[in-house]
């Protein structure tokens, strides 16, 4: 069981309107490691996350977490499972009418009847872990983007989950914040014995902490393996993506009729 993959995706297909987003995608996400799912914008990385956590239903195929089919679960069982999951959203998604402290305390108060002093201790511990213990009284609107994301991270692991999902954690952050987040993710994963799944297109940051990575393109996995294996991939597409070349298999130009004068 220790070595079995935590999340298994089998022949997953997903259509939005008539557009095909995923086509028979299969992927196994190992337990206790940091897995990176990479790909250029618009390849449906966030959609894949939502499919894994059961917020979207696949058109066909299955998603298994700990051997349980996410889409076969009853609402209650799914909510039970979600207490084992934490997710860091792109925008942070803090509840705007609660301050930092109440935002982090929110999942605790909703799910457990704990005495207030205990909640306060737990919240302070999590805030300390992300380095924001002094900011507990601020409202989300008063936080900078990087701080909001760290608060959201504290909220994501306040229930001590088994899995943490990161949706584009590095987008729009300054280099210092990026560095802080990278080391936080790494530390958290190691100290809490988590399985982390990072969806991102920030190649350098992600590959510096990921133990397993895969590259998405056109609804399929084009390459997977350790970061070293990816670097040595023979696929032109993967090479273009990892090195950030302007032209390659992914053309610079949007498909267009040949230009003819007359």
């Amino acid at each position: 069981m220790q070595n079995a993959p935590l999340i298994e995706i089998e022949n997953l297909s997903f259509y939005r309107a008539d557009r095909k987003i995923f086509d028979k995608l299969s992927l196994q996400i190992p337990r206790g490691q940091i897995t990176a799912i990479m790909g250029p914008s618009g390849t449906g990385k966030t959609t894949l996350l939502k499919l894994i956590v059961g917020q979207l239903k696949p058109s066909s195929g299955r998603v298994l977490i700990n051997g349980q089919d996410v889409n076969q679960l009853s609402r209650n069982a799914l909510y039970e499972l979600r207490q084992q999951m934490g997710m860091l959203f792109q925008t942070g998604a803090l509840l705007t009418d609660l301050n930092v402290f109440d935002n982090i305390a929110f999942p605790l108060r909703e799910h457990f009847k704990l005495p207030e002093p205990l909640i306060a201790n737990l919240v302070r511990m999590k805030l300390e872990a992300v380095g924001l213990r002094g900011a507990y009284a601020l409202m989300p609107a008063e936080l900078s983007g990087g701080m909001a994301r760290r608060v959201a991270l504290a909220r994501a692991f306040v229930l001590d989950p088994q899995m943490l999902f990161y949706d584009e954690p590095f987008v729009g952050q300054d280099p210092i914040t990026m560095g802080v987040l990278v080391s936080l993710i790494q530390k958290l994963n190691a100290s809490l014995n988590l399985t982390s799944i990072i969806v991102s297109h920030d190649v350098n940051e992600v590959l510096s902490i990921a133990e397993f990575a895969c590259v998405l393109s056109e609804g399929r996995i084009v390459e997977q393996g350790t970061p070293q294996e990816l670097q040595q991939s023979e696929s032109d597409y993967v090479q273009q993506f990892l090195k950030g070349l302007p032209d390659g298999p992914v053309p610079l130009h949007y498909p267009v009729e040949p230009w003819s004068v007359g």
């Binding site: 909510y79 979600r82 207490q83 959203f89 925008t91 803090l94 509840l95 705007t96 999942p107 959201a152």
Partner: protein
């Protein structure tokens, strides 16, 4: 020529068909939404703090507009009523007229229209914004049902707030009518109140007016929250949803008012 007529007719019928299907689909989606909220409602009764905050947003913040509008509507009723009733030499009935039109129709309806504009639009925008900033998704990920935490308290708060606002609107309106008719136009003070309390029935008029307000509150809240919950999560989508919410809610209030009036006051 014949072919053209045939083609146009076919297109018209197809258009009618697709419009009907669209309307049915929209209705079905709203019905599903309501179906999903109902089990969450009892749960939100006990979240006093959450409920209190929503009553504050929906009710207390609507108070100034309700007071102002009520006063002016009442004053206009007093003025017009006096003009019309003078022709029949029965200007004492101006109190009755003002009170009955306010209690039966204008109180619940105008308060509901103002509520749809003031509170309904705010509900749509707020929930739409929560969706576009992924707060609704985040709630689901924290295993908290947005129906319980976001939607149900707001519906309940509306059901509590609007009848209160309608009552306040009616009282302010009657006071406005009194000021104009008695204070300004010289209608006899005693006759104004005596005729009114003779003609206004507590059950038939006041309670029915309250029932109207409750029905309107449910409709406005559901329309507003549905639009927010199902809005396209972009700034454009939310602004469209807000407009739609106010327009739909206002039209539904007026339409349902006609049905309720025909059922209540026969």
């Amino acid at each position: 020529m014949l072919a053209w007529i045939l083609q146009t007719t076919t297109r018209l019928i197809a258009g009618l068909g697709s419009a009907t299907l669209g309307a049915l689909q929209g209705l079905g989606k709203r019905a599903l939404f309501v179906w999903a909220v109902i089990p969450a409602l009892p749960y939100s009764v006990w979240r006093i703090r959450l409920l209190m905050k929503q009553i504050y947003f929906a009710g207390v913040l609507s108070l100034p507009i309700i007071l102002t509008a009520g006063l002016f509507v009442g004053m206009v009723l007093g003025l017009q009523g006096h003009h019309i009733l003078t022709t029949y030499n029965s200007e004492e009935a101006v109190g009755t007229m003002t009170a009955l039109s306010l209690i039966r129709e204008l109180g619940p309806v105008v308060a509901a229209l103002l509520f749809a504009g003031r509170a309904g639009s705010a509900l749509t925008a707020e929930v739409g914004l929560m969706k576009s900033t992924e707060q609704l998704s985040a709630l689901e990920m924290m295993a908290v049902d947005p129906m319980k935490f976001v939607i149900a308290p707001r519906i309940l708060a509306s059901i509590i707030a609007l009848p209160m606002l309608a009552m306040i609107f009616i009282a302010t309106g009657i006071f406005g009518g009194y000021v104009v008719a008695v204070g300004w136009l010289g209608v006899d003070d005693g006759a104004f109140w005596a005729q009114m309390s003779e003609q206004v029935d507590w059950y038939d008029d006041v309670i029915n007016g309250l029932v109207k307000a409750v029905v309107f509150a449910i409709l406005i809240a559901i329309i507003a929250l549905y639009e927010g919950y199902e809005s396209v999560p972009t700034s454009e989508g939310v602004s469209h949803a807000t407009t739609r919410s106010v327009v739909h809610a206002s039209l539904v209030v007026l339409g349902v008012d006609f049905i309720l009036t025909s059922l209540m006051f026969t």
